[in-house]
Symmetry: D2
Subunit: 320 residues, 4 copies
C-alpha cells in the first residue's frame, strides 16, 4: 500500500473536514501518499482530484462543510459508472479509498471493495442512522445547532404563551429529534420509531397546561409527522395555545464542528488508515460500546443501533 484516495460523498456534515485532515495527515505520518478526490463519486468518475499534503489540510479542522466538496452521483449507481471510477483509481495507482459519507455512500464503497479495490467508510451524516456505529460524524454538531435554535425560539414562545412546533431533520431515524428534545426540555417529541397520534399530543398538552404550563415545545422529525401537519392540527384543535412553526432545514447541516465531532473525526480517520494498512479490504469504521472499530461491510448489519426507549419515555416524564 503506497497511495490512498479520500473523498466525501452525499449530504455534507460538520467535521467532514476534520476527517479529511486526519486521514491525510495520519496516512502521511505512516508513510503513505494521499490523493483527494473532489465532488464525491461524481468527481471520481470524472477524475477530479488533487494531491494532498500536510499543508493542504491545514486550517480546515474547524470549518463546516467539506473542502473536497460533495455530490449525489446517479451515474455511480450504475455498473458502468462504478467501473469508470474503479478504472480511474487503478490507473492512478490508488491502492485504497476512504469514503466519508452516509448510507448511500457506504453502499458505493462496498461495491468498489467487491470489485477488488479496498475501501473503508467513515460514517458522516447528521442523522446518526448507520450500521456499524453508534455515532456518525456531524450528529453532535447538528443536535447542538437545533438546541441553540430551540433556545432562541423558546424566548418567543414563553413571551407569547405559545406552543412552538419545530421540525428537525431525520427521515428514517429520530436521533436528532430525541436528543435535542431531551436536552432542551421539550414537552413532546415525535419520531419515526414511535407512533404518537395527534390526539395523544393534544391530550398530553392539555394535561400539562391544566396544571401550570402556558407554553410548550413540540419537536418533530421530518420522517414522523411534518411540522406543517402538526401546525394545522394544533390550529384547528388548540387555537388558544397559539401554535407556531419553524422548520430548521439546512441550518442543521452546517457550522463549525463541535468538540465531540472534531475529536471523533480525528479518531475515525486514524482508524480508517490503520485498517487499510493492516490489509483490510472493506469495512465501516465506527464507535461501538466505547471502542473505535472497523467492521467488515458484510457484518455491519449486525450492529444496527436504534434510539434509546428510556430516553423517549424520559422526555415525556420530565416534560410534564
Amino acid at each position: 500500500m503506497n497511495k490512498i484516495g479520500v473523498l466525501t460523498s452525499g449530504g455534507d456534515s460538520p467535521s467532514m473536514n476534520a476527517a479529511i485532515r486526519s486521514v491525510t495527515r495520519y496516512a502521511i505520518y505512516k508513510g503513505l501518499t494521499v490523493e483527494g478526490i473532489q465532488r464525491g463519486y461524481e468527481g471520481l468518475i470524472h477524475g477530479e482530484s488533487l494531491a494532498l499534503n500536510r499543508r493542504s489540510v491545514g486550517g480546515i479542522i474547524h470549518r463546516g462543510g467539506t473542502h473536497l466538496r460533495t455530490s449525489r452521483s446517479e451515474e455511480f449507481m450504475t455498473k458502468e459508472g462504478r467501473l469508470k471510477g474503479y478504472n480511474w483509481l487503478v490507473q492512478n495507482h490508488i491502492d485504497a479509498l476512504v469514503v466519508i459519507g452516509g448510507n448511500g455512500s457506504m453502499k458505493g464503497a462496498e461495491k468498489l471493495s467487491e470489485m477488488g479495490l479496498p475501501t473503508v467508510t467513515i460514517p458522516g451524516t447528521i442523522d446518526n442512522d448507520m450500521a456499524g456505529t453508534q455515532y456518525t460524524l456531524g450528529y453532535d454538531t447538528a443536535v447542538n445547532t437545533v438546541l441553540e435554535a430551540v433556545n432562541r425560539i423558546r424566548d418567543t414562545a414563553v413571551s407569547h404563551d405559545r406552543v412552538a412546533i419545530i421540525e428537525v431533520m431525520g427521515r428514517h431515524a429520530g436521533f436528532i429529534a430525541l436528543e435535542s428534545g431531551l436536552s432542551c426540555g421539550a414537552e413532546i417529541v415525535l419520531i419515526p420509531e414511535k407512533k404518537m397520534s395527534m390526539e395523544e399530543v393534544s391530550h398530553h398538552l392539555e394535561a400539562s397546561h391544566k396544571q401550570w404550563k402556558k407554553n410548550s415545545i413540540i419537536i418533530t422529525a421530518e420522517g414522523a409527522v411534518s411540522g406543517a401537519e402538526v401546525l394545522q392540527y394544533m390550529k384547528a384543535h388548540h387555537p388558544e395555545m397559539n401554535p407556531s412553526l419553524t422548520v430548521l432545514g439546512y441550518l442543521q447541516r452546517g457550522g463549525a464542528p463541535s468538540a465531540r465531532d472534531a475529536k471523533m473525526a480525528s479518531l475515525f480517520g486514524q482508524k480508517a488508515v490503520e485498517y487499510l494498512l493492516s490489509g483490510g479490504t472493506g469495512a465501516v469504521v465506527g464507535l461501538i460500546h466505547d471502542n473505535i472499530v472497523a467492521t467488515p461491510y458484510e457484518e455491519a448489519g449486525q450492529f444496527q443501533f436504534g434510539i434509546d426507549e428510556n430516553e423517549y419515555e424520559l422526555v415525556h416524564a420530565l416534560g410534564m
Copy 2:
C-alpha cells in the same frame, strides 16, 4: 408624577427585557415607583400587573423575549377596550405609561395619550420600520442571528455547489434582508422597497456563475417574494444550480440581545423616563442622526427612514 406603568406589546424582540430594566431602575433612581403590566394591552384591560423594584428586574438584561410577556389585543383596538385600560390605569394611580413595542403598539399608546394619559413608546421590533427612529430594539440581534444562520447554510451551499435561498422576516421593510445580505456577502437581496424580477435574478446569477462562482446566496424578505416562489422559479429555470430553501422564521425573534441592542434599550429606557418627568404627554423615543430624542406622536411621521439605496446597490456590486 409619582408612579409609571410599563408594558411590552405585539411581537417580542430581543432587548425588551433590557428596556424594562432600564425604565424601572431609572424611574426608581429618579424617585418614582413602577408598576409592570403583563401581557401587553390585553393584561392592561384585565388588570394583570405587579409592582417592580430594582430586584424584580435583576438578571434579565441578557434574556431574550419579555419577562412581562406580551400579546396582540383585539379588544384594545376597540374604544371600549381602550377605555377599560385607561380606567384601570387611573384607578391604580398610574400617572404615565411606557409602551415597548412596534407600530401597532405605538398606535395604542397614542390613543391613550389622546385620552389624557401621558404615554411614551420605546420602539421594539426586529423589523426596524418605525417612524421617529432610525433604530428599533431587536433589529441588531435579529440581523446577527440571520448572519450566523447564513454562515452555517453557506457551508452546505459551498460543499454542494448550490444556490441557497434564505427567507427572512420583513413584511413591509427590507432592513433585515439588506443588512444581513450586505454583511454575509449575498449575491442577491430581494426587498419590498425595490423591484427585481426573477429574470433579473436569473441573469445576475448566470453572469456570476459564468465567471467563476459555483454557489450563491439569495436573501429574500418575506414581503418581497416568498422563498417558496424563488425556489420554484430556480428549480424550473436553473436546476443545475441545485437550489435549496431555508425559511428562518421565529428563530429571528429570540436570543440574548446583542451589545448594541442592550445598550440602545438602556438609553431608550432612560430617555422615556426623562421625557415623562419633563412633562411630556405623548411621544416616541428614537435614534435620529446620532441623538436619542423623544418625538411627539403627531410629528413622528416626518421622521420616517427608509433603506439606504447605496447599500442595496453595493450588495450587488460586491456580490458579483
Copy 3:
C-alpha cells in the same frame, strides 16, 4: 421513602440546573416530594431550603450555573458541621439526599451515608476527573467553550504568524486540555498525566515551522505547566515565533449546557432517583462503558478512568 433533598456543591458546572430539574421532576413523577437545599453543604448546615415542585424547575434546563446556588463549606468538613447537616435533614423528614458536585462534594455525601442517611452523588464538574464515571456534567460544555475560544484566538495567531499559548482548567487531569487540543488541531498539548519538557515543545515546534507552519497552538492544563511559564520560555527561546498567552479562567465554567451535558444530566438525575427508590444507601451515578449505573461509594475507586493515551499521541501526530 417520601421526601428527598437535592443540593449543588463545590464549583458550579454547566447542566447542574438540568440535573436539578431531572431529579425534581422524576422524583415527583414517582410520587416523592422534593426539598431544594441552597448554597450546598453550607446552606444545609444553616437550613436554607425551599420546597420544589414541577414549576419551580421550569425554564432552567438551559441556564448555566445553579439556581440552588453553591459554595465550598469548611464547616461541613468538620464532624460537628456534618452532624448539624444530618440533624437538619432528619428533623425535616428528608429521607435521602442527592448531591450534585465534584470529588469534595462526593466525600461529604459519603460521610452522610455512613451516618445513616442515604445519599447519591451526581458527578458535576467540568474537569471529568471523578471515580465511578467516564463522564462528569459540564465537561462537554467546557470543552466546547474552550474550542470556540481557541477558534477565535487562532484568527489572530494566523494573521500575526504567532504561537498562541492557551491555559485551560485541569489541576489534576488533562481531559479538557486533551479533548480541546485534539478537536481544535493544536500542535502541542501539555497535561499533568504526561511529562513533556519545554525542550521537547521547542523541538516539536521548530520541526513543524521548518516545514511550513507559521503559527501554532499550545494548550496547557493549569496543572501541567502554567501558561505564564510557557510564555516566558517561548519569549526567551523563540521570540521569532511571536508567542502570546490567553488564560481562559472562569469563562470555562459558565454558559448554557451543550446538548450532551443536558441529556446526561437528565439521565443521571433519573438514575439517582431510581437508585434511592430501589433502597440504595450510598452511591455515585456515572457513565461506564455506555451504561448509566450507580456504583456504591466504596467500589467507585475501582472505576477510575484516565485520559486516552492514543488521543495524546494522535494530537501530536496530526499537529505536525
Copy 4:
C-alpha cells in the same frame, strides 16, 4: 489611476477581511486592478504581494483575522524603511494604497501620502479610538465577544455569590469596557477617561450589597486599572464578596465579524476606493454623524470622539 494596493497593518481586528473584499471588488467594479500586500508595512518593504481578483477575496467576508496577514514593522518607522516601501510601490506601478489598521498604521499611511503616493486609511482596530471616525472596524464584534464572555462568567458569579472582575482591552480608551458594561448590566466600569478610586468602588458595591445584591460584575479596561490590582484590593477589603478575575485577552481580537462590522467594512471599502478615484491624496475614511466620509489626514484631529459621559453615568445608575 489604474492600480491600487491594499494592506492590513498592526493588530488584526474582525472584518478586516470584509474590508479587503470590499476594496478589491469595488475597485475592480470601477475598472481598477488590485495588488494585495502581505504582512503590512513589513511585507511592503520586502515586496511580498499578490494580484487580487474577485475570486481571491471570495469566501473570506465572514472570517476573523486578515488573509493578507499583518505585522508591526519597526523598519517602516524609519525614513529608510518608508523609502523602500515607497519605491516598491512606484516600481510596481501602484498608484495608490489602501491601509487597513489603527493609529500607528494611519501614521505610516500619512507619511507615504506626504512622499507623494496617495493613501487612504480604513480604521481597523477593536479599540474604537481613532481620529476622523466614530467607528472602527472590529469594535462591535469585540464588544459582543466580551458580552458573551461576561454572560458566561455571570452564571458562575451568581451561583457563588461572587464579585466577578473582568479585564478587557483598551489601553487609552474605555469604549470596549463602557459599551460591554452598559450592555451586560455591570455594576462598575473602570475606564481610563474617568477616575474612580478603589474606595469608591468599594463604597458602591457595599451599598448595593446592603440592599439585595449578592453578586456583581466589575469591568475594567486594561488602561484604567489592571484586573490583578482590582482583585488584590477586593481580596484584601472584601473577601466576603468572593472576588474572582478573568482577563479576556486575545479572545477579543478574533472571531467572525458581527453584522455591523461586516457592513461597515463594506461601506468603508467602497468609500476608500471612491476617494482615491476622485483624486484624493490622503485621508482617513470614517463614520461621522451617520455619514461615511473621507477626512484629510491633517483635519482628522478635529474629529476626535470620546466616550459618552451619559453612558458612563447610566451604567452606575442602573447597576445599583
